[in-house]
Symmetry: C2
Subunit: 480 residues, 2 copies
C-alpha cells in the first residue's frame, strides 16, 4: 500500500470537512453502518467514550446521581402528552409499526429523548418529600432521523449520549442542579478533552422544546463553526403537570415537583477530533487516550532485537506501575517509519523510540504527538513520564484556548457582522432580546445565537441589528 492511501490526503486547512471524515475513518475510530446516517464505533473510538463515561460517572455519583435503564420504545400516546415537546421531535421520530407479522396497536417511537417515559415512571415512584430529590442518569442512545447531511459523531440518526433527569421539591433546588450539572460538563470537557467551552443560556428560540430555559456549553471549532457541547435544562413544572409528578410535602399538602434534564453526546468526540487533530491525523489528549505511550523498538539484528525488547519491557513495567497505558509495537516486517506514521494517525500522545545506540547512551528518544517535539530522555528520568503526559494535557488545553480566542470577535455593527461571517468564528455582539432581530440575523447570515454567556448580564450597548439599547451580549455563530 502506498503511503498516500494510508495517510490523510487533504489538509485540515484546505478541506476541513474531508479532513475530518478521513481522520475518523483512518484512525479507526468509527465506520459507516449499512443504514444511511448511522455509524459504528470501533474499539479506539469507543474507548474514548468509555473514558468520558467513567469521568462523568464519578462526578455524578459524588453529586448523588445514580444510573438506571429505560427501554428504547415509547408509545405514541405518551410522547404526545407534552404538546410542544412532541411537535419538536415528531418529524425526526422512527416509528415501529410491526412486531413479526403483527401490527402493533399504538405506534411505538424509538426514543428521541426520554422525558415522557421517565416522568411517567417518576410519577409512580414519587409520593412524598422523602422521595426527593430523585436524580437518575441514563447512558443510552437517542434516535432522531436526520434529513440533513450526516457526519460521524456530529450528526447521526442514532447517537450515544447520557440523559439525566432530576426531580426536586423546590424551584430553587432544581435551578441549582441545572448549574451544578453544567459545571460538571464544563470541567470534564476542559479537563479530559482539553477543549475550552463557554457556558450560558440559550435564547428563547433556541431552547429545548418543553424547557423553561436551557443552559448550554458551546465551543468554536477551527473551521469557525460553533458546536453545542452539552445542555442542561430547567423544566420548571412543564412536565410535572401533564405527567403528574407530585409529592406530599411535610405539611401533607400535594405539590407539583420541579424538574431538570441534561445531556451530552458523542459529539464531544467529534469536537476533540476537530480541535486537536492535524494533517498527520488524530491527536488525543492523554487523559482519554486508550494508549498513552507507545514504544517503537528499533533494531537490525536478532541480538539487538533481544536487547532492545528487554529494555522496552522494563520501561513498560515501570510505567504500568504508574498506571500509564502503554504498548510496545513489536510487529515484525514493518519498518519503524511506518509504525511512526501509524501511531501518529491514531493520535497516541507520546512515542518512545529506542535502539541499541540509545541503550549505549542510557537514553530513549521521546516524540510528543501534539506539537511533534522530539527530545532525548535519560533512563533515570523515565519515571517522570507521567509528568510529561500531564504537561501535554495542559499544553493542549492552552493551545485550544488560544485557537478559540483567535476565532472570537467583538462585532459592533451589522455590516461588519455580515462582512466577516463568511470566515466564521464566535461573534460577540449586543442584542436587544427581540426574536425578530434574532430571526433576521439568522436569515441573512446563517448565524444563530449560540449562548448568552453567564456573568456578562450587566453589559450594555446597542443591538447589532436594530440599535436598541441592549443588556445582552450573546455569542453568535454559524453552527454544526
Amino acid at each position: 500500500m502506498s503511503k498516500e492511501k494510508i495517510g490523510i490526503t487533504v489538509s485540515k486547512k484546505n478541506d476541513f470537512s474531508e479532513w475530518y471524515t478521513q481522520v475518523v475513518l483512518k484512525a479507526k475510530l468509527a465506520d459507516y453502518a449499512p443504514v444511511k446516517g448511522l455509524i459504528v464505533l470501533r474499539p479506539d473510538g469507543y474507548s474514548i467514550w468509555e473514558a468520558l463515561k467513567n469521568s462523568f460517572d464519578k462526578k455524578f455519583a459524588k453529586n448523588g446521581i445514580r444510573n438506571g435503564f429505560l427501554p428504547v420504545l415509547i408509545p405514541e400516546s405518551l410522547l404526545g402528552k407534552e404538546k410542544k415537546h412532541f411537535a419538536g421531535f415528531n418529524p425526526e421520530v422512527f416509528w415501529v409499526t410491526h412486531s413479526g407479522e403483527n401490527e402493533v396497536g399504538d405506534r411505538l417511537a424509538l426514543r428521541p429523548t426520554s422525558e415522557t417515559l421517565a416522568y411517567t415512571l417518576y410519577s409512580k415512584w414519587i409520593k412524598s418529600w422523602r422521595d426527593l430529590p430523585l436524580k437518575i442518569n441514563f447512558w443510552n442512545t437517542a434516535l432522531r432521523a436526520e434529513i440533513k447531511a450526516t457526519k460521524p459523531f456530529l450528526r447521526t440518526s442514532e447517537f450515544l449520549w447520557q440523559e439525566g433527569h432530576t426531580v426536586h421539591a423546590t424551584e430553587e433546588e432544581a435551578k441549582k442542579e441545572v448549574i451544578k450539572i453544567l459545571d460538571i460538563y464544563k470541567n470534564t470537557v476542559e479537563e479530559e478533552l482539553a477543549i475550552p467551552v463557554i457556558t450560558g443560556e440559550k435564547s428563547e428560540k433556541e431552547k429545548f422544546v418543553g424547557a423553561v430555559y436551557t443552559t448550554t456549553m458551546e465551543s468554536i471549532m477551527p473551521d469557525g463553526k460553533a458546536l453545542q457541547m452539552g445542555t442542561s435544562h430547567f423544566l420548571g413544572q412543564n412536565f410535572s403537570k401533564p405527567f403528574e409528578v407530585k409529592f406530599a410535602d411535610k405539611d401533607n399538602v400535594e405539590h407539583f415537583a420541579w424538574q431538570t434534564s441534561w445531556g451530552v453526546s458523542w459529539r464531544l468526540i467529534g469536537a476533540m477530533i476537530m480541535v486537536h487533530g492535524d494533517d498527520k491525523g488524530l491527536v488525543l489528549p492523554p487523559k482519554v487516550a486508550p494508549i498513552q505511550v507507545v514504544i517503537v523498538p528499533i533494531y537490525n539484528s536478532e541480538e539487538d532485537k533481544r536487547q532492545v525488547l528487554d529494555k522496552a519491557e522494563e520501561i513498560k513495567k515501570l510505567l504500568e506501575s504508574k498506571l500509564i497505558r502503554i504498548h510496545i509495537d513489536d510487529r515484525n516486517e514493518i519498518s519503524p517509519g511506518y509504525k511512526f506514521n501509524d501511531w501518529e494517525m491514531k493520535g497516541i500522545p507520546l512515542r518512545i523510540e529506542i535502539g541499541p545506540k540509545d541503550i549505549q547512551k542510557q537514553k530513549v528518544v521521546l516524540a510528543k504527538r501534539h506539537n511533534r517535539e522530539k527530545f532525548d530522555l535519560m533512563f533515570e528520568n523515565i519515571g517522570k513520564i507521567d509528568l510529561i503526559l500531564d504537561e501535554i494535557q495542559s499544553k493542549m488545553l492552552d493551545s485550544a484556548r488560544k485557537q478559540a480566542q483567535e476565532n472570537t470577535f467583538d462585532i459592533f455593527n451589522y455590516s461588519d457582522f455580515k462582512e466577516k461571517i463568511g470566515k466564521g468564528g464566535f461573534f460577540k455582539a449586543y442584542w436587544c432580546g427581540n426574536q425578530e432581530c434574532e430571526d433576521t440575523i439568522k436569515e441573512e447570515t446563517g448565524a444563530d445565537i449560540r449562548v448568552i454567556e453567564f456573568g456578562k448580564e450587566n453589559n450594555t450597548g446597542k443591538c447589532v441589528y436594530c440599535n436598541e439599547q441592549s443588556t445582552k451580549m450573546p455569542l453568535f455563530a454559524r453552527g454544526y
Copy 2:
C-alpha cells in the same frame, strides 16, 4: 401504610411466581414500562448490572477483547443474508417502517442480535492475518418481541446484554475462544452472584440458529425450572462465507475466517433474585450489592442521637477506607424496626445496629441478611467486617450449591422421568442422541435437554426413552 402492603405478601415456597414479581418491584430493582413486555431498571437494579459489567470488562480486557458500539437498526436485506439465522428470529423482530412522515425504503429491524451487522463491518476491516484475531464486545440491548407471558429480567421484549463477536485465523483458535469465554462466564457468575452453573453443550435442536454448536451454562432455580445463564457459540464459517469475512494468510492465500459469538443478559439478575431471595425480600451477594453494610442508629434522646451518629460516622469512615460500600440510615421519624424491614427487603448483606447501650459495652450488633444470624461485634473487631463479607459471599455460594444439588436427580427410566417431572429439577438421564427421542420427551413432559455436561462423555448407559445404548448423559429440565 401497613406492614403487609410494604412487605412481600406471599411465600417463596407457596407462590414462587408472585413472590418473584413482588421482590423485583418492592426491592425497587425494576418497574414495568408503559409498553407491555418492557421494563425499566431503577438504580438499585441497574447497579447490579454495573457490577457485573465491571467484572466482565476486566476479564474481557485481560483476554484481549475490547468494546465497541453498533446501532440498533439493521436493514431487512442484511438480516436475511444467513437464511436459517433469519428464519429463527423473524417472528420476534420489531420493524421500523417510517421516519417522521416518510416511509423508509428497506424496512429496518431493531437488533435481535448483531451477527449480521457486525460481520458486514468485519468483512471490511479484516484484510490480512495481521488483523486477526479480532475480538470485540458490545454492551447494548437486544429486542425480541415476546409473545409468551413476560417476566422482569427473565423474559422481556428488550433486554440488556453483552454480545461478543470474535474472528480467528484457525478453527482451533476459535474453538478455544468459545471455551475461554464460557469459563469467564462461569467464574463470574459463581464468584460475583454466588450461583453455581453447569457448563456443556446444547443439543443440535437447542443450539443457536446459525451456529455449528452452542456451549451453555445452566442453573436450576428453586422452583425446579432451569435457566439458561449464558451461551458461547462456535459459528465455524457459517457467517464468514455469506458475509465474506476473509483474510490473506502469510502465504498470501485468501481464507474464510472462523468465528465465535457469545452473550449473557440481565437474566443473571433474575437468577440471583430467585436463587438467594427469601420471604423477607431480596438477598444480595456482597460483591454486587450497591450498599454492602447499612448502619441503623438507635436512640431516644437528642444527646444519644449525637453520640450514636458520631460513632456511626467513625465506623463508616473506617469501613470506607477498606472500600466497603456503607450507608448510615439516619432518617428521622422512622423507627429502627421499619428500617430493618426496609433494608432486608432491599437485601443489604450486613446490618449494623448501634445504640447508647452498645456504645457503653464497646460493641455493635451485626445482622447477616442471608441467614438472619445476629451477633455482637466488639469495636476493636469492626475492621474485620471485610472478612465477614467475604465469608457471606462464600456461604451464599455453598448454600446455593446445596440447593441445586437437592434439585438434581439421576433418572434411569422414563416412567420415573414422567412421574417426577411435575416437581421439577435437573434430570440426569442417558440419551441416545436421536432428536426423535428428544422431541417426544419434550412433547410428553415439557422437559428440554438443557445441557450436555462437559467431562461426562465417556459414560455409557441406556437412553431413558428408547433404551438404545447411549454415550450422552444430558441434564433435562423444564425451563424458563
